[in-house]
Symmetry: C2
Subunit: 227 residues, 2 copies
């Protein structure tokens, strides 16, 4: 059944690079900061270093499934919708052998990270790097580049549209929405500018917020995407 070339060999008979996935799982914490989920490696390699969850891609799974499995196995969490960033393929990036890694990013609400065995570390908005609790020289592998690309991806996604990854619920006030966007973008936003930019993508629910001080705010929901 297996395909064979004229010399009778299958594809797997030729030596070929191994392929891994690494996932930068981002979220926004209670205190309004972007954070990334890391774990301290207890593997047989690079043990003790901070790293992104990652794993080798198996023969019969897609990249997406491998990314979700990496999150489950390494930090006890299911991601949501991992997206490819790019392939890291430097010949010497892994001393164990020839390994390419497909970097992924996912951005999930903080509620999904309750039972995690990983560590959520805040990201410096300027450097786009996690702030490590100890000063032991950064992330393993090329994971600093992956985190940077992940932050860029998230910022891009939150530049235009209201909370596309549903970090907050279905109904929210403009102030709540603004807080999330400011956390992801790592910079403040003028409230009137923000409002006028976002309302075009929002529908009013007709209800008002309750129990807050000051004038109650209208509640909005995301307007269903018109194609």
């Amino acid at each position: 059944m297996t395909w064979r070339d004229p010399s009778g060999r299958t594809l797997a008979d030729y030596p070929h690079p191994s392929i891994a996935v690494d996932v930068a799982l981002l979220t926004v914490t209670q205190d309004g900061r972007l954070a990334v989920l890391l774990h301290e490696r207890d593997e047989h390699y690079e043990a003790g270093r901070w790293a992104l969850p990652g794993t080798f891609v198996r023969m019969d799974e897609t990249l997406r499934d491998a990314a979700l499995r990496a999150l489950r196995e390494k930090v006890g969490e299911t991601g949501q919708e991992p997206r490819q960033l790019r392939v890291f393929d430097a010949l010497d990036r892994d001393d164990r052998g020839r390994v390419m890694s497909v970097a992924h990013v996912d951005l999930v609400p903080p509620g999904r990270l309750e039972g995690t065995t990983g560590t959520l570390l805040p990201i410096d908005p300027e450097t786009r790097q996690p702030i490590l609790p100890d000063r032991q020289g950064g992330l393993g592998f090329d994971h600093d580049q992956i985190v940077e690309a992940a932050v860029e991806w998230a910022r891009d996604a939150y530049q235009e549209r209201p909370d596309p990854r549903h970090l907050i619920g279905e109904e929210f006030t403009l102030l709540e929405l603004q807080r999330v966007h400011e956390a992801v973008l790592g910079r403040p936003w003028q409230k009137d500018t923000f409002r006028r930019h976002m309302v075009q993508y929002l529908d009013e629910t007709g209800d008002l917020s309750r129990g807050t001080v000051g004038k109650p705010a209208r509640l909005f929901r995301r307007r269903p995407q018109q194609i």
Copy 2:
């Protein structure tokens, strides 16, 4: 020397997917159209179909080098600077076995494609697909998606900056520049809008064009990128 896990196995001992590269090599033809370099497969698989040049990545080469080798071996041309688009990883995308492909794009001046054994086919600006000379059902594999992504990448690159991939020479008139941009973007551009948009990235050489009918145009060159 080789790393081994606790069970004494190397990375390569575990079955893992094969990895390939495919390259959409784009250029702009004399008649001002975007075109992609294809070849008719004479391989042992999918023979006779139009396809992008591609090859399997070897153990000791980077994606970039594999992409350049694919161009050399399949269409007799050296590319310039292939860039990753994304990984195509559907489980059934290749009947020969589990093969992921890292799609690449490159955009080179037409002069580099003189001795090619491939076929340059124009791209429909609307569909972003090559116009095949025969009506035999499209490209093999998922190469239609790759071409589409490649065109998107090229358009993005030519949205803002003057001819970043140096499809024309170092000195040019604004009309020459505009022709190239219109070819890549697949739509006309108003000359005064185009001019005012581009001059900020250009320096005048001080010379004028010669031998043309009408008022001679000033020559420009790209302003060295200020960081």
